[in-house]
Amino acid sequence: MSATTHAPELGELGGRRVRGRPELYTSYRQDQALLNTAPKRAGVTALFLAGVVLPFLVGNDMVLLLATAAAAAIGAIGLNIVTGMAGQVSLGHAFFVGVGAFTAATLAGDPDSSRHIGFGLDMLLWLPGAAVVAGAFGALVSPLAVRLRGLYLAIVTLGLVFLGEHAFKELKDLTGGVGVGRPGPEAVVLGVDLTEPSTLLGLTLTRHVKLYLLMLVLLAVCAVLGRNVGRSALGRAFSAVRDRDIAAAVIGVPLTKYKVLAFTISSAFAGVSGALLYTIIGHIEPSSFNLLMSIRFIAMILIGGIATVSGAIMGAVFITMLPRMSQFLVRELPFLSGGQLLDQHQIEAVLYGLLIIGFLVFEPRGLFGVWLRVRNYWKGWPFSY
């Protein structure tokens, strides 16, 4: 240690890359960079491009399913922030998704309708609106998380789903009521309907393809946002609260503040996800925001990989494709339904349950963990160390 202080040569902030040694990090910032290795950069670019090309290669219904998966992934990223990163178990995600969906539908709704309240606003307003209102509800609920821990919190958030479902059913001016519902918001930006079929460079863009591309872009934005939460001071504070809240408090992480923030951010993501999901589906039914939806989101992050953005996306795609897989199972394995044992929906539900159990028992890191194993195997190949 010399007595004189000098500026750190490699720079605590910038850091220098060393030619020919791509995995040498000389600063924390480099290590925490969004795409810190060349394969990651190439991989993510390739994935995104594949995502753009995909709708032109698969059938129309598949495109719609992929769009739904992208919208659901935004919600899963949100749940992963509060449950995965900050460790606050929430079974109440469906409630916030519902708040977002109905906020968007109300803001975008037809102002002249005699059945529902509507303001006829643009997507540029209803999408942030859904995030803000759902986030506000998250902040409103978060004092419970400050008071409670672990399973107590899980049960209370479960109660929230039931109370919310009841409120959605009763507020008929906003939601249309049970069995009726109301139309979902429409993706109209500055008077241009983004889902209107059109042609571009000789390619026909159908309504489904345009919806999907819109969701893909929004998912990319939300994924970057979610990843940035994870790798910033905010995310480190969340992890500290998750791993040991008392220790976090001792080293100066204000618990109340970060629990409130976690719930608010997560609910805002849920709100956006709800608004987008029902832009795709086109119709909102108040009783769909039930416990099952919450469990579906939990399944997404557990099967995908807890506390990772890519895991949330993988999980959302997987869970959204599950009906397809059970259809396939029913077709290929006729003895499942041939003996009148279970129909397709029942097989789907059983698969949910079994997958949740299976992943938790055998691969707690989810699909992300599977990916890590595959990657590490080939990275070190032929060495196993």
Binding site: L151, G159, Q346, A349
Partner: protein, 297 residues
């Protein structure tokens, strides 16, 4: 006045069912420190088996109930052994989610057997009533209350005086120390699941005595969750008190909300337990009788 008394009696009857379910939750929680979200499906399975033994096979209500309780206990044992035992030592959240998975699987299979029909549970009371001083009481509510009283008394005697009960209490207090004294903690886990399963089966059968069993019967069991939170997750008397309180609150809301707070909407009574739970928790985070968590830093 009659209206109030009648509401309270209905509440006591339904509340005793919630108490049975809540007891199951608490017994499992005390032994394994996990909340079993599989209880709703196990309850429906028990109710379905009672229908099977009682209505299809044609045994009487009580033999059918006993057989169903035993069979459901076995089902709970199987669940514990296959899905839960491998997870000992894992974070409680993970185990709780596993029980959700178990719940989904069992419920789908049971609902497949229930189908779209309403399955009647043959019982001696039906919807017949008795009048006590102007208050009309459904006989089945009295039967529920009495059955619960008998079961709770039997369980407390079991925990207090039997060797196995003592072992269970020891394991709940400190697993390692209990093991050092020769208590088989695995047996305690299995036994608590079996007891909880049997209790859930009895509760399910009594739920079925009114309107039969249908696809949505499982939601009744979820009302035991506010009950255990109200009473405190780890308190056996709390479960009973919480269950009965929730039942009474629900019945009172069902009776009076329509005339005093109509703006809360129809069927508000169904969700009122959750509201009570939220309010109590804001004041007492560990319920009425729960032990506050003390952490050594």
């Amino acid at each position: 006045m009659t209206r109030l008394a009648q509401a309270i009696v209905v509440g006591l009857g339904n509340g005793s069912i919630y108490a049975l379910l809540a007891l199951g939750f608490v017994i499992i929680y005390k032994a394994t420190s996990v909340i079993s979200f599989a209880q709703p499906s196990i309850m429906v399975a028990g109710a379905m088996l009672t229908y099977l033994f009682g209505h299809v096979v044609g045994l009487g209500f009580f033999p059918a109930l006993a057989l169903a309780a035993a069979a459901t206990a076995v089902l709970a044992l199987v669940v514990e052994r296959t899905a839960l035992r491998p997870m000992v030592g894992k974070p409680v959240f993970v185990v709780a989610i596993i029980t959700i998975g178990v719940d989904v699987v069992i419920r789908v299979v049971v609902n497949r057997f229930i189908g779209l029909d309403v399955r009647p549970v043959d019982n001696p009371w039906g919807l017949s009533t008795t009048t006590f001083g102007g208050v009309i009481v459904q006989q089945r509510h009295i039967a529920m209350l009495l059955t619960t009283a008998v079961l709770v008394a039997a369980l407390s005697l079991f925990f207090k005086y039997s060797r196995v009960g003592l072992a269970m209490r020891a394991a709940a207090l400190d697993q390692e120390t209990a093991q050092a004294q020769g208590v088989s903690v695995g047996m305690v886990f299995a036994l608590s699941w079996a007891i909880a399963g049997a209790l859930a089966a009895v509760a399910g059968a009594f739920v079925g005595t009114g309107t039969g069993i249908e696809g949505s019967t499982w939601t009744v069991a979820l009302k035991a969750l506010p009950a255990i939170i109200l009473g405190g997750l780890d308190s056996v008397p709390g479960a009973v008190v919480g269950g009965i309180l929730i039942g009474v609150v629900e019945a009172l809301v069902a009776t009076y909300q329509g005339s005093y707070f109509p703006w809360l909407g129809a069927n508000f009574s169904v969700v009122s337990p959750y509201l009570v739970m939220l309010l109590v928790l804001l004041v007492r985070p560990y319920g009425l009788f729960g032990t506050p968590e003390v952490e050594r830093v």
